[in-house]
Amino acid sequence: MEKTSNSFLDFFKKRKVQKSIIIVLFLTVPLVLLVLFTYVPLGDMVKYSFEKWNGTSKNHEFVGWDNYKTIFERPEYLRVLKNSIYYFVGSIVQIIAALYFATILNYKIKGANIFKGIIFFPTLLNGVAVGLMFNYFYRGGGTLDTLLTALGCDPETLPLWLGDAAIVNYSLVLVSLWRYMGQNMVMFNGAIQSVSSELIEAASLDGASKWQQFRYIILPNIKTIVSLNIILAVKGAISVFEIPYIMTDGQNGSSTFVMKTLDTAFVSRKYGLASALGVVLLIFIMVVTFVQKYFIEGREVDDYGRTKRGAKAR
């Protein structure tokens, strides 16, 4: 008996075995959480998308592709996607502005940290607070109107920033830009700091202008982080939710795809259809991401990143 228990213990004392036990134990927790809270619900969502279900009832009626057919046959579901274009254009502007600020704040400027702080600050604010704040900012006779009147605009000619269907989306995109630019800037700034300052110094000695330094030294070095941010921006534009939900609740045609999905599920209690909308959204984002990766990172980079090293060297 003792002999077996000894060999049993010895087995566990082996370094290799202990190593793998630790690896397995440490991996189990995040994997279980990931599967439990991401992949199982995802699987359920795909399953519901083929069913007719009101969210509480015991009967789930299998309806095949009906929900998907409804989405593509009835215009009101995909129509809201056009609002994503506003947010996508907005986020490109946002990335360019963030790059600009990150670059100039990287040079020695007085009070660079204060400016960084000011630009980053909105990111720290709670989304609901931002929504309420800008509601006061945009309302008729609110902060923006007061400001413009003080600058000499005739208060009679000022539009209703959230009440005019032609303007509301621009107003909302501006809020989104204000809120998320700081986050992009901090990421870009961190990436730029890792660019060797010797390279930039050498270039400036050779007479390269600031633009040339940016174009040929900084940008190629932070390409990965820029492309990551663009992917996130597209994802954000398609699934934009928080700001329009709090500020306008989709009124005046500012509704978005996610808001439509929520209404379908929780107001009309069509969980099957809403799940199908969720799956469609997921597929959209996946397609856009792959297309983007393909174009930005170049053809030679495949999904396994095999030629990444080569690409970098080039």
């Binding site: 009101n54 509601n135 945009y138 309302r139 008729g140 609110g142 209703l160 959230l162 009440g163 005019d164 269907a165 509301v168 306008t248 609740d249 989709g250 009124q251 005046n252 045609g253 509704s255 209404d263 379908t264 107001v267 009309s268 209690r269 069509k270």
Partner: protein, 457 residues
């Protein structure tokens, strides 16, 4: 400390047993004097003869030691030999539903809505037929807890479903002497407010979309048919064409916005702020449920304004007889435990609560007794016809919800389709009111078809 609690609990238990015992002892006397429960209603014994101890279950934990105790004291002046004790519960509906099976649910209690109609007789003492009671009580409210003409519960009061909260001072300033009864009169009144005062005539609160859902509360009464919503509309094609209640109610909203009688920017409104504006007289009126009245009156009091200047009026749509119809829903009903040992005493207390205590008016509700005064805040409803929606026929049960969900109109949640009316009236959509209603109609018709297709399954 702990010992004390235990001994207290023990003492409590012992008294309970004791009370139970006493009740049983008196059983015979009551039965012999009162006779069969059903007959108690007609030939009530003299007040002094009625005796016994009764327990009253109530959901009003807030007033059990104050107002309810006062009512009991008042009751004892006429019935000195009845001892009334109250038992208040936080989770009334849940707790009482559980106790139903034990038979121990007091003598007089508020009937939980979990008892199915078919089982009324198993739990509740019959209180008389509708024909017998309608001389004393308003008939339309007696159908709440009845089965085949026999009434098992009497509402403690009645609430108004929907109407318009308005500032009396502003209405007087504008020169409105009589409250509007039709949509046309309402538009004229709003125009008067716009012309004669600085107040916003009607505040839509569009930004807080749920405020749009308040309008839906007026639709059922506008039909002047208690079966309309649950039995007719759920099977009806073209429910939103001119003349139909759904069309007419929302037309008031559209016209008000299109005529410029609402706030300047409906898309940035704020509910909390609107209550203050209404209290101060910067807003003349808002379409809301009766629950909102006390909230705005409270704010008025806080601002140093007489809360009685904030009042409540019916939604201006009349039936063919020219009466304004108001949707109403009865509050909890009083019932008597079928196992009660002091039914005569219980019945005496129930009648006292309904007819003499003034409970309904104290709670800001309408009393169901014919001839009783209305609470001051609801005085404008005195000459209205009241309508209580009837539950759906068995074949239509749940159908309205099914059709409504299928249509995605979201009429009870301030949906994009309701907001569409304001957007169209405001000029943000290239649509007339009829265009909006045509879209609603298409959705509703498709939904009726879709639901009918698998309704019988």
């Amino acid at each position: 400390m702990r010992k004390r609690v235990i001994s207290l609990a023990l003492a409590g238990l012992m008294t309970m047993f004791c009370l139970g015992g006493c009740g049983e002892a008196k059983d015979d006397t009551t039965k012999s004097s009162g006779g069969d429960g059903a007959q108690v209603t007609t030939e009530a014994p003299a007040p002094e003869e009625v005796s016994g101890e009764i327990t009253v279950l109530t959901h009003r934990t807030d007033i059990v030691d104050t107002k309810l105790a006062d009512y009991a004291a008042e009751f004892n002046k006429t019935y000195p030999n009845v001892k009334v004790s109250f038992e208040a519960m936080e989770d009334y509906e849940g707790d009482v539903s559980t106790r139903l099976q034990t038979g121990d649910y007091g003598d007089v209690f508020m009937i939980p809505n979990t008892i199915p109609v078919a089982e009324y007789a198993d739990f509740l003492e019959p209180l008389g037929t509708i024909d017998e009671l309608k001389g004393k009580y308003k008939e339309e409210f007696l159908y709440t807890k009845q089965s085949e003409g026999t009434v098992y519960g009497i509402p403690s009061g009645v609430n108004i479903n929907a109407g318009i909260v308005y500032n009396k001072t502003v209405f007087e300033e504008a020169g409105i002497t009589e409250l509007p009864k039709t949509p046309e009169e309402f538009q004229a009144a709003l125009q008067k407010i716009k012309d004669n005062t600085d107040a916003i005539p009607l505040y839509t609160n569009t930004h807080d979309a749920w405020c749009m859902a308040q309008w839906q509360g007026c639709v059922s009464a506008a039909s002047a048919d208690p079966t309309y919503i649950n039995d007719i509309m759920c099977n009806e094609k073209d429910a939103f064409v001119a003349g139909k209640p759904g069309y007419e109610v929302y037309k008031v909203l559209y016209d008000s916005v299109a005529n410029g009688l609402t706030e300047e920017d409906p898309f940035t409104t704020e509910w909390e702020g609107s209550k203050v504006l209404c209290a101060k007289g910067d807003i003349a009126c808002m379409v809301l449920g009766s629950w909102a009245l006390s909230q705005i009156q409270e704010i008025a009091t806080g601002e140093g304004i007489d809360p009685n200047t904030i009042s409540y009026m019916p939604f201006p749509i009349s039936n063919e007889a020219g009466e304004v119809v108001v949707g109403a829903s009865p509050d909890y009903c009083y019932g008597i435990n079928v196992n009660s040992e002091n039914k005569a005493a219980a019945r005496a207390f129930l009648d006292f609560m309904v007819e003499q205590s003034g409970y309904a008016v104290d709670a800001g509700e309408i009393s169901i007794v014919i001839g009783d005064a209305f609470p001051t805040s609801l005085a404008d409803f005195e000459n209205c016809a009241f309508q209580v929606d009837e539950p759906a026929q068995p074949e239509n049960e749940g159908k309205w919800d099914a059709v409504h969900n299928e249509s995605e109109l979201g009429l009870w949640s301030g949906s994009e389709y309701q907001v569409m009316i304001v957007e169209a009236a405001f000029g943000n959509r290239d649509m007339t009111y009829d265009d909006v209603m045509a879209e609603w109609n298409t959705r509703w018709n498709d939904a009726v078809d879709a639901v009918n297709a698998d309704w019988d399954k």
